[in-house]
Symmetry: C2
Subunit: 280 residues, 2 copies
């Protein structure tokens, strides 16, 4: 084991301390509303974890747990109510939604100013055009990890594997904004190993066990593992454990990027509250 571990708890704790200090200065209590449809165990656990951290920081946090058979129109109506409710700062629809629901118009119905997940096209557009907006939590957390450990980004070559709307693509925008050279690879990429081998920073965000093997990693590389898959009942990342023998810095799994994601959601809620309330 040569790699320094980039510990999610350390980064998250520091961010939570900072956010608590910012909270203490507010003359209002930010309010975050979760919408969860059905009882998918992973979704239940995710929402519970986010809700718990919100309460810990002092954000007023409400969970709308809707039945599995909730109709599209009912969900749209609830979002319209929350959009209109001036006391609500953030709205988060936990994904994935049940199959009979169409998530695209639902996410687009959320007021972009309350879109704490940063998935609304308006926020995605602002991210790519370099304007202020709400940024997806997982990729924002990757930048936060880099900054916490004072790892430089500018001029570095970042290779991102996986091109999802949740992680890969917004991560590309954020690293580019910080002046990295960015390569986006995916399932159709030829010669993935040769590309990854050039990376100063590797972001693995596919969800395939051991996708990144030690031979693919340049010594001195920073490896950020975002992938999650379940193997024999255990959660594993995209990075083979032996990569720790080669990389200079590595996020563990579990205990790495996931924890920071939840803290970034709190930061987004604070930001959304402050910006919206300031603009009246």
């Amino acid at each position: 084991m040569s790699a320094r571990l980039l510990k999610g708890k350390e980064v998250s704790d520091a961010l939570v301390t900072q956010l608590s200090q910012e909270m203490a200065k507010l003359n209002f209590q930010p309010k975050l509303v979760f919408i969860r449809v059905g009882d998918d165990p992973a979704s239940v656990a995710y929402v519970r974890g986010k809700n718990r951290l919100a309460e810990q920081i002092g954000i007023c946090s409400l969970v709308n747990a809707l039945p599995q058979e909730t109709k599209q129109a009912e969900l749209m109506e609830l979002i319209a109510e929350l959009n209109a409710d001036d006391s609500v700062d953030g709205i988060l629809v936990q994904l994935p939604l049940p199959e009979h629901l169409d998530s695209e118009p639902i996410l687009e119905a959320i007021d972009p100013r309350k879109d704490v997940d940063g998935f609304h096209p308006m926020n995605v557009g602002r991210l790519w055009t370099g304007q202020e907006g709400l940024v997806p939590c997982t990729p924002a957390g990757l930048i936060r990890i880099m900054d916490h450990y004072q790892l430089p980004i500018e001029g570095r070559h970042v290779v991102i594997i996986g091109r999802s709307n949740l992680v890969g693509k917004p991560a590309a925008a954020l690293f580019l904004r910080r002046h990295a050279t960015v390569s986006l690879a995916h399932s159709r990429t030829r010669n993935l190993a040769a590309l990854v081998k050039q990376a100063d920073i590797i972001v693995a965000a596919v969800g395939r066990q051991a996708l990144i093997t030690p031979e693919m990693v340049k010594p001195a590389a920073v490896v950020l593992d975002v992938g999650i898959s379940r193997v024999d009942g255990k959660l594993v990342g995209d990075v083979h454990p032996d990569v720790a023998e080669v990389a200079a810095h590595l996020t563990p799994m579990p205990g790495g990027t996931g924890r920071v994601t939840v803290a970034m959601l709190m930061q987004n809620t604070l930001q959304a509250a402050i910006v919206r309330r300031a603009s009246g």
Copy 2:
């Protein structure tokens, strides 16, 4: 000279023929409105060229030539009027605007359904999340050139130099959508030559003469030159002329990508008209 020239006129002519056929089937005349502020000679020439092609195809095309001293509020008011005018399908504000005007809120004021330049954050967001929308003309033209000459994109490594909102970033989204591996390089990129040398497809979009030299180009590469700079009164691209000895395919400059951009604007206008009028 070994490279096959990818001729803008050939691609543009084919697209214009196709669009004229589509126009003949419409029971309405699409309407495109240009807004030009001041008398910057390049802007005058660009708008004239776009206007001429619109008329040739049969699009009703109007140019609002506003005085240099036009105020922000006046421009915003004109855009609001054009947004509200049901007969208007496309609105194009020619950039750059005079220095005293703030282009960001102006571009954002345009109804995204009439945003034929594809610069509105809503359209940028839709581009990156894989939804339907209006796409910037120059990068859309690059894909069109590739398709016209039946050059494959999927699985190829595209290296884009330049990360502007007009070309570099949207080109990354479009090539990614077509399943290329995409690298985005720029002024802070270290070892640009080594990265470009790996490219199957090179997009040069910086505006610096001879940025891409023959040594940087892999034989069999496709080279798309989007850069424009003026040297001794002559317009030149980013690609050194000797690259023609190495590359397999190359857009000439002039006579390359620029001409296709203008034709793509006509396609956007048609698309905007058809989609908006169909949705009532």
